[in-house]
């Protein structure tokens, strides 16, 4: 495992703080997911229910986020794949799994070419911005992971081409990353997750920190 130095923003301190980007998802991440992320998500869900927000008001099929046993098995499956994780103060703050082989680009300008596909990217629940959630503890976890995905694409010779299916509430994030929104397809994620793709130009701008 290699660790790279990155920086997050510690909201309480109002200052940048050093963190590590690991080029793997290891047992430690799964333990953090199970014993720290999961209870925090459950506490958040309880807060939603206390505020009169039930599953019917949330945009997800129940099985996707209430079935912890199934989700735990899927998270265990992250081990051994190409992945990255962000660790700050010894706690996992975000993780991402990449598929380097099986997906091809869809944008007309680069259709059929190799790309890095982000098949999973998640930020620790205490860093979420959601209605009823407390303010995030650390910011920049997501941008750091996207930086890693694009850098990996360049390293693989894919020129920064990255594809992913965004959560609905995350759409503005990928748009500002300079990714192109190709919309949803009924045969993918029940038509709920739009597909986004970056071009080499958009990737280069992102690595330079140029915002859209």
């Amino acid at each position: 495992m290699t660790a790279y130095q990155v920086h997050l923003f510690d909201a309480a301190a109002g200052a940048m703080v050093e963190a590590d980007l690991h080029d793997e998802i290891a047992e430690k991440q799964l333990i953090d997911w199970q014993f720290q992320w999961r209870p925090a998500v459950q506490a958040y869900m309880k807060r939603l229910v206390d505020n009169g927000i039930g599953p019917a008001d949330t945009a997800w099929p129940q099985s996707w986020h209430w079935d912890w046993r199934g989700k735990m098995n899927e998270v265990r499956g992250l081990l051994g794949h190409t992945g990255y994780s962000v660790v700050c103060r010894d706690v996992t703050q975000g993780m991402m799994r990449l598929d380097l082989a099986s997906r091809r680009a869809r944008l007309d300008s680069q259709a059929g070419q190799d790309l890095v596909y982000v098949d999973y990217l998640e930020v620790a629940p205490w860093n979420w911005r959601e209605p009823y959630a407390d303010a995030p503890i650390y910011r920049l976890v997501g941008p750091v992971l996207m930086h890693a995905a694009i850098t990996r694409s360049v390293d693989e010779g894919f020129k920064g081409r990255v594809g992913l299916h965004s959560l609905p509430q995350a759409i503005p994030f990928y748009e500002r990353c300079g990714f192109t929104n190709l919309g949803t397809r009924p045969d993918e994620y029940e038509g709920k997750l739009p597909y986004f793709e970056s071009t080499p130009g958009a990737a280069e701008a992102y690595l330079k920190g140029e915002l859209k």
Partner: protein, 159 residues
């Protein structure tokens, strides 16, 4: 290429991470609550509350003065409830109205936007009724239906 990230890049990116949390793939799904829907809800139900109090009063052939007197509240407060959807009634007022109109207090609190609904979508249903009933001088059959629907929802036991 290096995977390390400079503090300068991170500072530029701070503006970026301002409003939403990234996430990709079905495994990352989290509950998604529309923030607009959340903030609308109280105003919507309060609008229905004011309309309902107006209809309930007229259905009982009470003047504003008489109902205010029965509920032991100020006339101006009752006027504000009936006519100003942004007016936030206080708990004592709603309690007084629930006594005067003989309606269950907890659910009237929910309709007034003072308590979080515990179950069901009865508020949405009565909001739809409110949208269909037009406030005119006498209680129309539609208003009567709205009134009866709210009373039915208010008096229904939780399942």
């Amino acid at each position: 290429m290096t995977y390390g990230i400079s503090a300068e890049w991170s500072k530029k990116m701070l503006a970026f991470d301002e409003h939403v949390t990234p996430g990709a793939g079905a495994l990352a799904t989290r509950p998604h609550v529309d923030p607009d829907a959340v903030s609308l809800r109280v105003e919507e139900t309060r609008l229905v509350f004011g309309h309902f109090i107006n209809v309930a009063r007229r259905q009982r052939r009470l003047t504003i003065e008489k109902l205010a007197d029965d509920a032991d509240i100020e006339v101006g407060e009752l006027l504000s409830i009936e006519q100003d959807p942004h007016y936030e009634p206080d708990l004592r007022t709603v309690w007084g109205l629930s006594n005067a109109l003989d309606l269950p207090q907890p659910k009237l609190m929910e309709l007034a936007g003072l308590a979080v609904p515990k179950e069901g979508h009865w508020l949405e249903e009565v909001t739809r009724y409110a949208a269909r009933s037009a406030p005119i001088k006498d209680v129309t059959p539609d208003e009567q239906a709205f009134h009866d629907a709210v009373v039915a929802a208010l008096t229904m036991k939780a399942t």
